[in-house]
Amino acid sequence: MNRFTSIAFAAAAVIGFASVAPSASVAKDFPSKPVQLQVPFKPGGGADRTFRLFAPYLSEELGVPVKVTNVSGGGGWVSWGQVTNQWNKKKDDHKLAVVNIPHIFSMLNPAMKRKETLESFNFLAWHSYDPGLWLVRWDDERFKNLEDVLDYAVKQPLVIAPGSLGSDDHIGVAFAQQAVPGFQTKFVTSKGDNAKIQLLLGKHVDMVAANVGYYINSILERKLRPIAVMHPEPWRMLPSVPTFEEVTGKKNVTYAGRTIATANGLEEEKRAVYLAAIERAITNPEYMAKEVANKNHLMFLKGDEMWNMLRAGQKVAEQAAYWKQKDVQ
């Protein structure tokens, strides 16, 4: 082998990768081959975990293997860009995509320069729902309830860990800043719930804005105290925790939700097959029990109910408009 052939071989290996494309085939019985469930984040995260648990049950209903793939990057947009702009109703009919709410509302931020709207997605069903929750340290004498926190924040800035700016947790705080006059904040950004718990327990921040699921354990351990839930009524996992609205009279509903979408223009019959299978899999008692252990709250919605929820979510994101805040720009 001379030097040229070894370079040519190497180049062919690289180019070969780029030219591999999924083959198109439409059989009579649908689905006729394994279905790909595309998660927009890396393996190991909350979304990945939930859909890896879900895949075997969906597979049972569809009668073909369901393979979870991860296409991460761009806060989800590498995957969602493919779903909305590249997926073809014929070629990609064996693909499903996880779409996270309110993460997709980053498309409303003018800096992101995205052309998509909610209607760019072919949503099938809502899968899970986790309401916003504010927490302080269990032993923090300054804050017994939400009133204490709001009083404090009017006198001096409250140091909050909302994860990254633009997250549902941050939107909830941004909304509260509009609802409560004089509410002063300082944001300590971080990646993931683990970092938030560490910042709060280490007394680096006064409060975290998060979602219920991940924090149930810290509450049961009496390390963190929940002070308000961002939901229209008290959340059944935490019945004694007041809603933001109950305390302030102002509505503040934020949540992390997961939906499942498919290729645009997919035939109605195929759509119906997916939808029925998803509904049966989500309500499978064995799967439900696994998600209870996983602290993930399942919520199946379809059709108008799902679209109403999506549009309401978009409205909250538009109203909060975190990208217009001074400290964000």
Binding site: S72, K113, Q198, L201
Partner: protein
């Protein structure tokens, strides 16, 4: 000790079987660039969720320990690190391979990794609760200064050209700013391209800068020649006592740095190895050949990256705060099995947690034995002709990068970083400096931005008011001092030796004259 009674639980057939599978999968997955332990562990969750919790978790912690060690095989043998935690090992390790000392490098790596993992495992067993509290001390200011400490390693990995090293480091820092800024959600240097929104990930950067660049370097020179320049390899895989004694303090320093950095969330093996490595170079003695195959450097990096493994599980088990990506995935598995991290885990389910910790310790022990068998075979890749190795490495780089994220953009980024790494290596611009900038840039930036927020724009007084930051700053000063001291010292030694030689020559000539 109460925990001893659980040691026997590990010895059940199913637990030992899971451990064996975990070790073999970890060693193989770890050795392939791009396929790291987090991905392997994530794939194991659905497979193992019907198993008893301790068996499933033993499978995962064994994969984790073996995966970090397995990454070193390809780092040492091919300069193609399998995981980001073994990038530093590729520097001295590959230089040793080039000099035909691959087996010596592998056996030092095995000893350092196995012992590092064992010590880290015992730290997990006995020191978990107090060490978990240390992780809480790390706030914005500490993250910022730890990143600065890591960046001082640039001076050490520049090998003679500090200016070029700094240029490489700054280039890495610049690259690390690409993507959506988490503090403002503002896309930086993305030029409207979807693929750049998530920036340059550590994985494509490591694979590109080291593995792909190495494949390009192999395309130079005769395609028939091999890396080691030898046709036979030593069969002695067990380290000699003299080798261990020669590196004893480097090993200890590597292990200690691994143990400490494991407890710091988000730092982990990819930072610990560089701190350990630069510390060794700064403490180098005359005669040490850093950058040209110094086994002490390899002992420290290999000791540190496996020293991290056990302690990174401590904040995860005790506080529910994982120390790294692999620990985060194991946390997910823990929760799916109905277990909750925290004090209750140790109180209510000791049979699970202590069995898993003993499983981790035994996995490190057995890993050495299994690796000894595998290493012999794997070391033979250094006898392959370059014309065959280069394309094979490229294929693994492309497949591994794509498998990790499913994002085709990452593959192009990896190839671009590969070309950068090739040129940097050729013109002595430290690819390690670029990688340090990419790894530490986001940690430093987020830390600084958060310090500015919480300190009302008076960061200096805020940082100095925190004792743990002061300790880290002291370490930065010491690191910088040692970075410059050896040169003066070397000069003095050189002058002294020259003077001695001159006086001996004089004495000899005087003797001659006298006779």
């Amino acid at each position: 000790m109460e925990s001893f009674e659980f040691l026997l639980n590990v010895l059940s057939l199913s637990n030992l079987g899971a451990m064996f599978v975990g070790i073999v999968v970890g060693l193989i997955i770890g050795a392939i660039p791009g396929l790291g332990p987090p991905m392997a562990i994530a794939l194991m969750i659905p497979i193992s969720f019907e198993w008893p919790a301790e068996t499933a978790l033993i499978l995962m912690v064994s994969t984790y320990a073996a995966g970090i060690y397995g990454g070193s095989f390809t780092a040492i043998l091919l300069r193609a690190p399998g995981t980001s935690a073994s990038a530093a090992s590729s520097i001295e390790g590959y230089e040793l391979t080039k000099r035909g000392r691959a087996i010596e490098a592998i056996r030092m790596s095995t000893f350092a990794s196995v012992m590092g993992g064992l010590i880290s495992g015992f730290a997990l067993l006995y020191l978990a609760p107090p060490l978990a509290k240390v992780s809480l001390l790390f706030g914005p200011s500490e993250y910022f200064v730890v990143a600065l400490l890591g960046l001082t390693a640039i001076a050490a990995v520049s090998f003679g050209s500090v200016l070029k090293g700094l240029i490489a480091g700054l280039f890495g820092l610049l690259i690390s700013t690409i993507g959506v800024d988490s503090a403002s959600s503002f896309p930086r240097f993305t030029y409207g391209l979807d693929g750049l929104y998530s920036g340059v990930g550590i994985l494509p950067a490591v694979i590109g800068l080291f593995a792909f660049a190495q494949a390009l370097t192999l395309c130079e020179g005769s395609p028939q020649s091999n890396i080691s320049g030898r046709s036979k390899l030593s069969w002695n895989i067990w380290p000699r006592l003299s080798e261990i004694m020669h590196c004893r303090w480097s090993l200890v320093r590597g292990w200690v740095k691994g143990l400490i950095m494991g407890v710091v969330p988000a730092a982990g093996g990819s930072v610990a190895q560089w701190i350990a490595y630069s510390w060794e170079i700064q403490r180098g003695k005359p005669g040490d050949k850093f950058g040209q195959g110094e086994i002490k450097g390899l002992a420290a990096t290999e000791g540190s990256n496996n020293g991290v493994t056990g302690t990174s599980l401590i904040p995860m088990f005790v506080l529910g705060i994982p120390g790294g990506i692999s620990a985060a995935v194991i946390l997910g598995a823990l929760m799916i099995h109905g277990l909750q991290p925290g004090d209750r885990l140790f109180r209510d389910s000791p049979e699970v947690i202590f069995t898993v910790i003993w499983g981790f310790i035994l996995a490190n022990f057995f890993m050495g034995g299994i690796a000894a068998v595998l290493a012999r075979g794997m070391a033979y890749v250094t006898l392959f002709p370059r014309g065959l190795l280069a394309p094979i490495i490229m294929i693994f780089c492309v497949v591994g990068t794509f498998a990790a994220s499913g994002n085709p953009w990452d593959v192009w980024i990896m190839i671009a970083m590969g070309i950068v790494g090739y040129l940097a290596h050729k013109y002595n611009f430290s690819p390690a400096g670029i990688l340090l900038g990419i790894i530490l840039g986001p940690i430093a930036e987020e830390g600084l931005k958060n310090v500015l927020v919480v300190s009302d724009d008076s960061p200096i007084s805020f940082i100095f008011s925190r004792w743990i930051s002061d300790v880290i700053i002291f370490m930065i000063v010491v690191a910088l001092y040692y970075s410059f001291k050896p040169k003066a010292w070397d000069k003095a030694v050189e002058e002294g030796e020259a003077a001695l030689a001159a006086s001996e020559q004089r004495a000899a000539s005087e003797e001659k004259r006298d006779s």
